[in-house]
Symmetry: C2
Subunit: 231 residues, 2 copies
């Protein structure tokens, strides 16, 4: 159990995984500083969800950083000319078209800058290697390489004021286990958003990879997804 | 010597070091894609310099990315409440107040995303460990840790389409040698900007750390700095 006074930066997308990760960090006793990115993603509605989640769970500060959509290209999440795949669970042997070049590296770099500026050494990220093993930057091997780099990159680490640790509490959990854990910690999943293709009124499609993984997770957890899906 | 068709992403601040780095990359035969960041730094005049430099040296594409100034805090380069030190060369045993948390990590992360999206595997950065050994993220050890992480982080690397290489051609050069090298390659140093505290008309102060290192470099190279300094 961490000391009550320890600060942590928590990456929060507004989705189910990162909301659960925030609840876990808080439950471990960290003072949480949430960090959300706005980068022209189709599911910008996630940012609204992120705001509701921090209000519900409680954080010291919620920082929202705009990232130029120009930074990412060639991905279905940011490029409207690439179709988001529907009605099939991600083939984990291949890298999905929803992969965004170096996305987690950019996100973790900002988290590192934020952490150094507030004198925090703990960063939480809700990557998951079970459901999303197709993403190279969701693997433990990647996270450890980033952590090693972070401990060479920064003044705070070089001056031995602390060692950065990248926490990935849900990396090995199934979606069902994530949902059970979050439910136990009081996460209100009606505030979270997972859909890649939401309707104009914000309702999730229920068909994209992300919706399907979510629905399967609730099903396997024996719980009901509180979200209302598009008919 | 690289093949003429090989692409490289070159980080370009508009300063003397990165302009020289771009000239070196071009001279090695790379097709260069320049990447400049605008992040509310006091010396935003550097961006204008970067535009002139790419016009003078020639690149395939020049991408300018806005970074929210909120991403960085506690540094003299972005925080107006911290005074930029003048009239003393950086004490290399300490980390200067002009250090910006995780700056090169954020820059290299964007360069990595850009590289992956254009199918380039070579990234050039004009870090220098001689004049700026106080910056942890200018050391070779840091660059190699980033490179290692990059080769785990990305789809292109995981799919064995190539290996990312972070080139640091001037990392061990003295300022004088950088200037001599650039001069030999035709860099027009009158287009570059180094000052942390420029006058409103853009003229460099001649007193800040960066101006002093530049002037000392020209002096030691036996060359005249083409810039006009504030009286």
């Amino acid at each position: 159990m961490a000391k009550k006074t320890k600060k942590a930066v928590v990456l929060l997308s507004g989705g189910l995984d990162s909301a659960t990760t925030l609840a876990i960090a808080k439950n471990k006793g960290f003072k949480c500083y949430a960090l959300t990115f706005s980068y022209g993603q189709r599911h910008s509605i996630e940012i609204k969800s992120a705001k509701k989640i921090v209000k519900s769970i409680g954080v010291i500060q919620h920082k929202i950083i705009d990232i130029s959509p120009a930074a990412f290209s060639g991905s279905a999440l940011t490029d409207k000319s690439i179709k988001v795949p529907v009605n099939k669970i991600i083939n984990t042997a291949r890298i999905p078209v929803t992969y965004v070049p170096a996305r987690n590296t950019i996100f973790l770099s900002y988290a590192l800058a934020f952490a150094e500026s507030i004198k925090a050494f703990d960063i939480f990220i809700g990557v998951n290697a079970t459901d999303y093993s197709g993403y190279p930057d969701c693997r433990n091997e990647y996270i450890r390489a980033f952590e090693k780099m972070a401990n060479i990159a920064t003044a705070a680490a070089v001056q031995k004021k602390g060692r950065y640790k990248i926490h990935t509490p849900i990396i090995k959990m199934s979606k069902a286990r994530i949902i059970k854990t979050g439910t136990r910690l009081g996460v209100n999943y009606s505030l979270t958003h997972s859909c890649y293709n939401p309707a104009k009124n914000g309702k999730p499609c229920g068909k994209c990879d992300s919706c399907q993984l979510r629905l399967k997770g609730f099903d396997e957890a024996g719980l009901k997804d509180p979200l209302k899906y598009k008919k």
